[in-house]
């Protein structure tokens, strides 16, 4: 099948599209073509399925958490355990998919951006597995708060480049990765880690994460005999959320709830809640909600969670919000850390701080819906990388 990319540019209502230098169009067209070809090729799906079964550890299990649920209106709470995947988060789903595409395209070098380091670690892992050169761009600020993941990436053989421009966080790491890509596009694939960026990334990355929702929907149905009342996930760029939401979109009875990083609160201006506190605009190649000022300059985001500290969000989330199919609510740093502590102490599972935002949302929604309700939460990552930040937050001497 041949795709005329000039005609098919991924939009979600008014959102999505491509806002990039012309220099990247050819690479985006080739990528879209390679992805379309791969989708039509049963050996690609078989290869990815084999990797997920023998390397990622899929299907990931679901876990009921009744002791935690006592603090959430006694609702029935079920976790989809993406934290148990190899490398410790959902990020590996997308990375293995794209890395297989890179092999098909014959490129030898991948670049990636990372905030918390989870996507960087997953990318470095896939590069090691498939013999690719890997460079990870990471904001200097994030290399400090996630130093453990920096070391992990280096141990895996990747080069980590600290980005010193701008706010020195994820947004600036993406800028630098795009500059690298414009320069080295012939040899290099940009392994974007979230459902943002220019077409085909929002669609392709979503498709690679849909497996979360597909598995979880069947698992919950088997366990409870019915669909959950609500599906919850944290939203930075929005990859784990769209992965678990998407297979439920046609299930009208299921509320889809995205929890954004509210930082010190929306009113404080220090947050990363892009849909709750932003406006439509263009950032990093796509139209979506953006934290911006009156001149269209991106405003710095703030969150205790490096993985959610991003002033943009995937365009499909912007659309789902506008049409009312999904809801987005901010969770403050303090609320997230309280849920972090609660999950650790009631269930013996330490979540990533990103994931803790979804848990804090579950406490609120559980109280709202009560003990009859079933909530499915995407437990997107484990908290090992956050031990340092959490210890500091709770005043535990290191």
């Amino acid at each position: 099948m041949t795709v005329n990319q000039s005609e098919i540019i991924g939009h979600f209502g008014p959102y999505g599209g491509r806002f990039v230098p012309e220099a990247l169009i050819e690479a985006l067209d080739s990528l879209t073509q390679a992805y379309e070809d791969a989708k039509a090729d049963p050996t690609f799906a078989a290869e990815l399925e084999y990797l997920h079964r023998t390397y990622t550890g899929r299907p990931s299990i679901i876990t009921e958490v009744p002791r935690f649920a006592e603090h959430a209106g006694n609702a029935r709470i079920i976790l989809k355990r993406e934290d148990l995947n190899h490398t410790g988060s959902h990020k590996i789903n997308n990375v293995l998919g794209q890395a297989l595409l890179v092999k098909r395209m014959g490129k030898k070098r991948i670049i990636a951006e990372t905030g918390a380091g989870q996507h960087g670690v997953a990318s470095a892992t896939a590069a090691a597995l498939m013999g690719l050169e890997c460079v990870v761009y990471m904001g200097e600020e994030d290399t400090k708060r996630q130093s453990l993941n920096v070391a992990r990436m280096k141990l895996l053989g990747a080069e980590v480049v600290p980005v010193t421009q701008g706010s020195k966080t994820l947004k600036d790491a993406i800028n630098e990765a795009m500059r690298d890509w414009v320069t080295n596009v012939d040899t290099t694939h940009y392994l974007l880690g979230t459902v943002a960026g220019p077409h085909p990334f929002p669609t392709m990355v979503r498709d690679f994460h849909r497996i979360i929702g597909v598995e979880a929907r069947a698992q919950v149905l088997e366990l409870t005999g019915k669909l959950p009342d609500a599906v919850l996930a944290c939203v930075g760029g929005g990859s784990n959320a769209i992965g678990i939401f998407h297979p439920f979109i046609d299930d009208a009875s299921v509320r889809l709830i995205g929890l954004e990083a509210g930082g010190s609160g929306i009113a404080s201006g220090k947050h990363a809640a892009t849909i709750s506190g932003g406006t439509p605009g263009v950032l990093h190649g796509t139209r979506s909600y953006v934290l911006q000022d009156e001149n269209g300059q991106t405003v710095e985001s703030h969150s205790i969670s490096a993985g959610l500290d991003y002033p943009g969000v995937g365009p499909e989330h912007a659309y789902l919000s506008d049409i009312g199919r999904a809801e987005y609510q901010p969770i403050t740093d303090d609320e997230a850390m309280e849920a972090f502590s609660l999950m650790s102490k009631t269930e013996g599972i330490i979540p990533a701080i990103e994931t803790a935002h979804a848990l804090a949302g579950a406490i609120k929604i559980g109280k709202e819906l009560g003990s009859e309700a079933t909530l499915l939460i995407n437990f997107s990552g484990r908290g090992d990388k956050d031990v340092d930040t959490a210890a500091r937050y709770f005043g535990i001497p290191l």
């Binding site: 599209g17 806002f19 230098p21 414009v182 320069t183 596009v185 950032l283 911006q292 269209g296």
Partner: protein
């Protein structure tokens, strides 16, 4: 016909390339930016590109990033960009604004085109606007009769080159290489190839940018292109100079030298 289009008719008649200088609005300060552009024009720069400083300039290298950051830290916004544009066009120099797309969308697409026109600007260069997303912009520039300038790259395939260049007026911005803005020791050979391919599909003037900083490079590009665009080299002189006075002298000298280069 915009002053920019008139300029290319004149330089074609003079059998030379036009020299186009770039500076971000508000760099090093709003008034000093206008002073530096005045020095460029006195040195022989034919037309000016005023950059709208942006927080996330993915097409720009470290020199322009630093200049944009400085300008933004002083509060430069749309108002300052348009007042700088007015000051330059008042000198009788053709001028365009170069901006990433989000500031246009935020200002309002129609209003942006209108404000360009009211400030006497000839048009706008949009480095991250693809033709697929350009519908509302196309209508706005048509209504205001200003030029719409897209950037094409060595990787742009022939079929798409025809589509993008058909949307350009004033000139076509040909990126000399795959990469970001900045000074380089040689002009990439891909520039000549790209301009050759553009000639086959368009009769609109072609200006080459990215990496041009010296008289010899300008002379080389002038052999095959209608315009030579220089940005980072001017900015670097202002960044390196001990005083604004020294900077203005050096900017004017570079402009004089480049102006000799574009004469074949």
């Amino acid at each position: 016909m915009t002053p920019l289009s008139q300029l290319f008719e004149k330089t074609r008649a003079e059998n030379r390339a036009a020299l186009i200088g770039y500076l971000p609005a508000g760099f090093p300060s709003q008034q000093e930016c206008i002073d530096a552009i005045t020095a460029m024009v006195e040195g022989g720069v034919d037309a000016i590109e005023i950059g709208f400083p942006y927080s996330d300039p993915v097409m720009d290298g470290p020199i322009i990033q630093a200049a944009a950051d400085l300008s933004l830290s002083q509060g430069t916004g749309a108002r300052e960009v348009f007042s700088t544009l007015s000051a330059i066009t008042a000198l009788g120099t053709p001028a365009v604004v170069m901006t990433y797309w989000n500031p246009i969308e935020r200002y309002g697409v129609e209003n942006f085109a209108k404000s360009i026109s009211e400030a006497g600007g000839s048009g706008v260069i949009t480095p991250d606007l693809t033709i697929e997303e350009a519908g509302p912009w196309r209508a706005a520039v048509k209504s205001e009769e200003i030029n719409s300038i897209f950037v094409v790259a060595p990787s742009t395939k022939d079929e798409r080159l025809a589509q993008v260049t058909a949307e350009c007026s004033g000139f076509i911005y040909a990126a000399s290489l795959m990469g970001v803005t900045g000074t380089r020791t040689t002009v990439s050979s891909s520039a000549r190839d790209l301009v050759g391919r553009i000639r086959k599909v368009s009769s609109t003037p072609v200006a080459v940018g990215l990496g041009v900083s010296t008289r010899d490079q300008a002379h080389e590009v002038a052999q095959y292109a209608d315009g030579v665009i220089v940005g980072s080299a001017f900015i670097r002189l202002l960044q390196e100079s001990q005083s604004m006075g020294e900077g203005l002298i050096r900017v004017k000298e570079l402009a004089q030298s480049l102006a000799e280069g574009v004469r074949r």
